[in-house]
């Protein structure tokens, strides 16, 4: 009997120590990234005031605000999402619903999507620079910036949507099959609503990736600081503003940190907004 008891409390001891290890690791590893964020917050907070959000940048960004950048950045994001969401979801449906079951081709599509998701963003910048700016003649504009960004995040979005579609319960498909529901009706009324929350999360991930992107937009969307008055005008995104202030403009650090804080808050708000609206679908 003795050995069994000791074996039992041995498991208890291991369990106890593991709990301590996991708790300490979880809290301590968060210290470093949080110290980075707080460092940025301290530097940027002094520079952050209401006028920072309402005025346009002055003296190449050192003073003034970033209001015009909100407009151009959101336009870039809208162009990107307007392309990525419809095409992403329909392609994910094509792959998941095995519309034309040709396994070899589908396998190759999935592999190339994964490889493309790993391609460094600077190559998408150059691709956009040559294809959208030169060949399609869109020049340095919000449109070519948004489209190149779309090419970059599309593979990631398709893979995320596909995983979500796979997790949709099989019982819905069985019921629809038995009731002889049309494939379109099944997709629109049953399949998509059941994975709406997952797709919402995918949209949030893609938006986060698009907002954090610098290399792509440098070559395509350009650097203009003023309000864009059409999609063919060049516009600067928040992350490029941070990059430019930090890398090219002497004395740009406080403004860069303030812009970084605004970008964080934007990420948090967008995250909550999309999650909330998809849950209520």
């Amino acid at each position: 009997m003795h050995s069994r008891d000791s074996q039992l409390n041995n498991a208890r001891v291991v369990n106890h120590t593991m709990t301590i290890i996991i708790w300490s690791v979880a809290l301590s590893t968060m210290l470093l990234p949080l110290s980075i964020i707080s460092d940025v917050f301290i530097k940027g907070l002094a520079h952050l005031n209401w006028s920072f959000l309402t005025e346009i940048p002055k003296n190449s960004g050192r003073e003034g605000g970033i209001s015009s950048l909100f407009i151009s950045n959101s336009l870039i994001l809208i162009v990107c999402l307007a392309v990525v969401i419809p095409i992403g979801i329909t392609t994910a449906l094509y792959l998941n619903e095995r519309v034309s079951p040709n396994d070899k081709v589908d396998k190759w599509i999935q592999i190339s999507l994964d490889v493309l998701a790993g391609v460094p963003s600077i190559i998408f910048g150059l691709f956009g620079y040559v294809f959208f700016c030169q060949i399609l003649g869109l020049g340095f504009s919000i449109l070519s910036g948004g489209l190149s960004l779309a090419c970059m995040v599309l593979p990631l979005f398709i893979r995320l949507c596909e995983n979500n579609l796979k997790n949709s319960p099989a019982s819905y498909r069985e019921a629809a099959e038995a009731l002889n529901i049309s494939h379109t009706g099944f997709i629109i009324k049953v399949l998509l609503p059941s994975v709406a929350e997952g797709i919402g999360a995918a949209v949030v991930v893609v938006m986060g990736r698009a907002l954090a992107e610098t290399a792509v937009l440098i070559f395509t969307a350009g650097y203009a600081l003023r309000y864009p008055n059409s999609l063919f005008d060049s516009g600067r995104s928040l992350s490029i503003h941070i990059y430019d202030l930090a890398m090219n403009v002497p004395g740009g650090m406080p403004a860069a940190s303030a812009t970084a804080i605004v970008l964080f808050l934007l990420l948090i708000i967008l995250n909550a907004l999309v999650r909330f609206s998809c849950r209520r679908l």
Binding site: L75, V79, Q134, F219, S230, N248, P250, G251, L281
Partner: protein, 273 residues
């Protein structure tokens, strides 16, 4: 599902109305060196206020991109921080300002000044310890610039070195990254545009400019041309240019913008005349 649909309709409507009012303003596209871009952006803003019907779009990306974009006529004016090379004869250059290249050290580095030969030996690795040039007994950290940058070319030409001779510990891209790197390592030595260096030194960044052969690194020496390493900041065009483009170039060379040029710690051309 219903709410989702009308959100999308609103967004599409918004983008459509924004994209269609492609107004009649003429646009001038400038691309090129990241040193010149901030200056031209400010000049462009002032020019737009005086000529509301013209839009000035400025993009950075480096001197060679400035040249390439004009070749593929993606832009009207190229910005380069160097003279035109001999194989770029098809372009015409218009100098708007002068900039010097100065050697910078960390603020606490007690070395006061260096000779031309000292700098050469440090960068080619012959001198490895600060003690040899009157500093503390520690290893020197050499910061060099990436291939293709005009600052690198001028620096090498002035000191008669080839890039392969330089034994660098860190290689940086833009000026600002060089400044940050020197400010971050007390034993480092690097070289950047004098304008950016003076601005940062005065705004509390722990960097200091060093005099070479007793010649002080300050703007007055750049202005009177005695500063050893000088480079023109050029606007470059190809073939005949439109009226608006010439208007902008003349404006950029005029005295009306010399305050902006001084604000960026460059030396405006008409000050020399």
């Amino acid at each position: 599902m219903y709410k989702f649909k009308n959100i999308i309709i609103i967004i599409i409507g918004l983008t459509f109305c924004v994209s269609c009012n492609n107004n009649s303003k003429t646009k001038i596209e400038l691309t090129g060196s990241s040193t010149v871009a901030p200056l031209i952006m400010e000049i462009g803003r002032r020019f737009e206020r005086l000529n509301p019907h013209i839009l000035i779009n400025v993009q950075t990306g480096g001197s060679s991109r400035g040249i390439n974009d004009i070749k593929n006529n993606l832009s009207n004016i190229g910005m380069i921080s160097r003279e035109l090379k001999d194989n770029e004869a098809e372009f015409t250059e218009h100098t708007i300002a002068w900039d010097g290249i100065t050697v910078i050290l960390h603020k606490e580095n007690n070395v006061k000044q260096l000779s031309h030969q000292d700098v050469l030996n440090i960068f080619t690795g012959k001198i490895k310890n600060w003690q040899k040039v009157g500093g503390v007994n520690k290893k020197i950290v050499v910061i060099n610039k990436a291939e293709g940058r005009s600052t690198l070319e001028l620096f090498l030409k002035h000191f008669g070195m080839k890039n392969s001779d330089v034994e660098a510990d860190i290689i940086v891209g833009d000026n600002q990254q060089g400044l940050n790197m020197v400010a971050g390592s007390p034993l480092s030595i690097g070289y950047v545009s004098i304008g950016a260096a003076i601005f940062e030194a005065e705004n509390g960044m722990s960097v200091k400019l060093i005099d070479i052969d007793g010649l002080e690194s300050k703007l007055s020496n750049v202005r009177n041309g005695t500063f050893p390493i000088l480079r023109p900041l050029n606007l470059v065009t190809r073939g005949q240019t439109s009226k608006e483009v010439m208007e902008f170039i003349n404006f950029a060379q005029s005295a009306a913008v010399s305050d902006v040029i001084n604000q960026h710690y460059f030396v405006s051309t008409n000050a020399n005349k």
